[in-house]
């Protein structure tokens, strides 16, 4: 029986999202840009979804632009912001960001931009004063994740809003892993841009949103249509948006309940493993962490072997990121936190979700302990017998 512990990679479709999708499909097709009644019906559903997403992050409806997902939202935020801040050639970020932030930054660096990447502390947290110290009149953008996808570390970004605005730069917050795991308010955070991903909330994959405080802050990346105020032209993914709206509404209506449930399960899993695996390490802060994520270093076992062995037992976990061919690479986040390559190679990310049960988590803990014992026994002699 499958136990899915990889919710930071993607959550299953929520039942409420599926119902909303069925209902929408049952009413026939339609392009929200069309003038006729079918188009009007589609537009109503689409705009309702936008309102639901806006409510989840405490934003106004017109501040939400739908994208194809978190990656596109991050690209639109970063490239769109530097295009609009013409002349400013500096970007501040961190070493522990998601590849959909690191990738655009690398591309801009090759175009001649200066990118400053702040290092995290040993717990994976970013010191905001280090970011503030880097701000100057050449800074176009500060882009940081609110909750880290690999360790779950929550960054305290609210103190950045004022100094960033004073410097004339924009603040982009990637909340892809934070949404649904903590209370979110774009308004109170004071950011200019915020990324939210659909399928991490339990919507379909292929939908995401970018919060834009004021539409004049960024330039579009594509041209050729009036959709999304011209910031994201093209016929929108209305099916995806409908599921994202429903998921956002569900999450919003029971956020504290789900946070309590996930905290309980995650702490139970951590303490079970802690008791049975001597030498296990938690990567990331103990408290300032979203309630569903555990990044653990397992003594004398390769993370790769644990991941595969657990998969064969029906427990789905992850490690770092996968290369194109599907081989796992050690996490750049753990390396930036000062973990050795060996430790990074021995680490797994377990991420939980609101639909898991205590019984599943207890069973997963027992399987992980059993598999760790077998793997560490088989791999312990690895250091002798060299060719």
């Amino acid at each position: 029986m499958e136990i899915y512990l990889d919710w930071n990679a993607g959550a299953p479709l929520r039942p409420e999202a599926r119902r909303a999708l069925d209902e929408f499909l049952g009413n026939g097709a339609g392009n929200p840009a069309s003038v006729h009644r079918s188009g009007q019906r589609a537009r109503r559903a689409f705009e309702q979804a936008r309102a639901q997403v806006a409510t989840l992050i405490d934003a106004a409806v017109r501040q939400i632009v739908f994208t194809s997902g978190g990656t596109e939202a991050n690209n639109l935020a970063i490239f769109g912001a530097v295009k609009a801040r013409n002349g400013r050639r500096k970007i501040i970020s961190s070493m522990i960001e998601h590849s959909s932030i690191l990738g655009p930054l690398k591309a801009l660096e090759q175009e001649g931009f200066t990118v400053h990447r702040v290092a995290p502390d040993a717990n994976g947290r970013i010191a905001t004063d280090q970011v503030v110290a880097e701000l100057d009149e050449s800074t176009a953008l500060v882009t940081l994740g609110l909750a880290n996808s690999e360790t779950g570390a929550i960054q305290d970004l609210a103190p950045l809003a004022q100094p960033v605005r004073q410097a004339g730069a924009l603040l982009h917050v990637d909340a892809a892993q934070a949404a649904g795991r903590m209370s979110l308010s774009a308004t109170r955070l004071g950011c200019d841009l915020m990324t939210v991903s659909g399928h991490k909330l339990g919507a379909l994959a292929g939908i995401g949103a970018l919060y834009i405080r004021d539409e004049h802050l960024i330039n579009p990346l594509m041209c050729g249509g009036p959709q999304e105020r011209g910031l994201r032209p093209g016929t929108p993914n209305i099916l995806g948006a409908v599921t994202m709206g429903a998921a956002a509404q569900t999450v919003g209506s029971r956020l504290s309940e789900e946070i309590n449930h996930m905290s309980y399960l995650t702490e139970r899993l951590r303490s079970r493993l802690w008791a049975s695996i001597p030498g296990m390490l938690l990567n990331g802060p103990l408290f300032a962490r979203i309630p569903n994520t555990l990044n653990l270093t397992f003594p004398s076992a390769r993370g790769e072997s644990l991941l595969i062995a657990l998969d064969l037992e029906g427990v789905r976990v992850s490690m770092g990121s996968a290369c194109a061919a599907g081989a796992v690479e050690p996490s750049h986040v753990l390396l930036a936190m000062g973990r050795s390559r060996r430790q990074a190679h021995s680490s797994l990310r377990l991420s939980l979700g609101p639909q898991l049960t205590l019984e599943q988590v207890e069973r997963a803990a027992a399987i992980i302990v059993r598999v760790w014992r077998r793997v560490s026994e088989a791999e312990a002699p690895n250091e002798e017998a060299r060719g």
């Binding site: 029986m1 076992a301 390769r302 790769e304 072997s305 595969i308 062995a309 998969d311 064969l312 029906g314 290369c323 194109a324 061919a325 599907g326 081989a327 796992v328 690479e329 077998r374 793997v375 088989a378 791999e379 002699p381 690895n382 017998a385 060299r386 060719g387």
Partner: protein, 372 residues
């Protein structure tokens, strides 16, 4: 779920994306084994679609071929990262051997350390009782419960030469599903199963060398510590200098081309002297050795070792016929092999494998020819 009560044991199949390992995995799956396909990422940048390593082994395309087979045959498939182990146990010794004037066979090291040591231990970690490969060789169990490594029925494809380091413990946990098949039968089976790689061409070159289209000489030059590259003299058997060379790693015993020396009759590399960096060349007539000394000798079943000389047949290169010889096992894992007739190009660094009829008794690494 996949594991029913009648499910046979779990087996990890090393998959390259080629037709042989694909059919090996498919046959085991059909036979009811709990197959887990594993492709090994062995050298630096071959796992990205842009690597451009089309002809080399274990490129991105090859991994995708293996993955498609796993999807078609419905078993799990993973790519594992073995780059560090491969560099340490295969590439470094390969470069070191060439720099020492020897001609290594990296497939031997890869089988010994990567497939039948590191991968076997990873398979244990995954709860697998067996590992399997697409090698053409057979393992049989004798009446006394001992395991015998035998040549493949398809003599053209027989790869038992590369497997002589396997001992009882490894043989007991290894499956070679193709040992009784011909290559044509394997391709036909692949077609019957609808595997997309049924007609994929065979890999010929050393996988990590050919990936950039270069030669092994260039590979060694690129990967060697420049201080260890030994230029020197090319001499004849009397010690007279015929020319200069820019590194002994560029030569192998019996080599004729690329000597940089012209004579009316062709010259061949007769000996490489790593101490003085001399490459000794001679005409063809002088080539031929009485036997050889081998080191790092291992036996597939040590209980069959004899204190006396044994009449065996040996192979001194992969693509070489069997030669009648006598084998004398000596101390410290060494052995002396005397050929029934003189043999050309006995090459230090290559393996000498001992056969008794169909059976692989064991083998060792050639240290030096015997010339008396």
């Amino acid at each position: 779920m996949r594991r029913g009560p009648t499910m046979k044991p779990r087996v990890v199949v090393a998959m390259s994306g080629g037709v042989d390992s694909s059919v090996a995995a498919a046959l085991l799956r059909e036979d009811g084994y709990d197959v887990v396909g594993v492709a090994m990422r062995l050298s630096a940048d071959n796992a990205h679609p842009s690597a451009g390593a089309r002809r080399a082994c274990c490129s991105y395309e090859d991994f995708e071929d293996a993955r498609r087979v796993a999807e078609r045959m419905d078993f799990p498939f993973y790519v594992v990262d073995m780059r560090d182990d491969f560099a340490r146990t295969v590439i470094d010794p390969f470069v070191g051997d060439y720099l020492a004037g020897r001609t290594p066979n990296p497939c031997l090291a890869c089988n010994r350390w990567i497939k039948f040591d590191r991968l076997r231990r990873r398979a244990e970690a995954l709860g697998a009782n067996y590992i399997a490969t697409g090698h053409y060789a057979r393992i049989e169990r004798s009446a006394h419960g001992r395991f015998r490594l035998r040549r493949a029925l398809d003599r053209q494809k027989d790869q038992s030469y590369f497997l002589f380091t396997l001992e009882q413990e490894e043989l007991a946990r290894t499956l070679f599903p193709l040992g009784a098949m011909t290559k044509n039968e394997v391709r036909a089976k692949a077609r019957t199963l609808g595997l997309a790689n049924a007609d994929k061409p065979e890999s010929q070159e050393i996988c990590f060398v050919s990936e950039n289209g270069g030669s092994y000489r260039d590979f060694v030059s690129r990967h060697a510590d420049p201080a260890k590259i030994k230029p020197g003299r090319i001499v004849d058997t009397n010690g007279a200098m015929l020319g200069l060379h820019d590194g002994i790693h560029r030569f192998t015993i019996g080599q004729r081309r690329g000597l940089g020396v012209t004579r009316p009759t062709p010259l061949y590399v007769r000996e490489i002297r790593p101490q003085s960096a001399e490459v000794v060349v001679s005409e063809r007539e002088a080539l031929g050795d009485r036997g050889l000394l081998a080191s790092k000798v291992s036996l597939t079943d040590p209980s069959r070792a004899s204190a006396h000389a044994m009449a065996v047949e040996v192979k001194i290169r992969y693509r070489h016929p069997l030669i009648p010889a006598t084998l004398t096992l000596m101390e410290n894992g060494t052995a002396a092999v005397r050929f029934a007739t003189h043999q050309p190009a006995v090459t230090p660094g290559q393996a000498c494998v001992f056969y008794l009829g169909d059976e692989v008794l064991g083998g060792g690494i050639i240290e030096a020819p015997l010339r008396e």
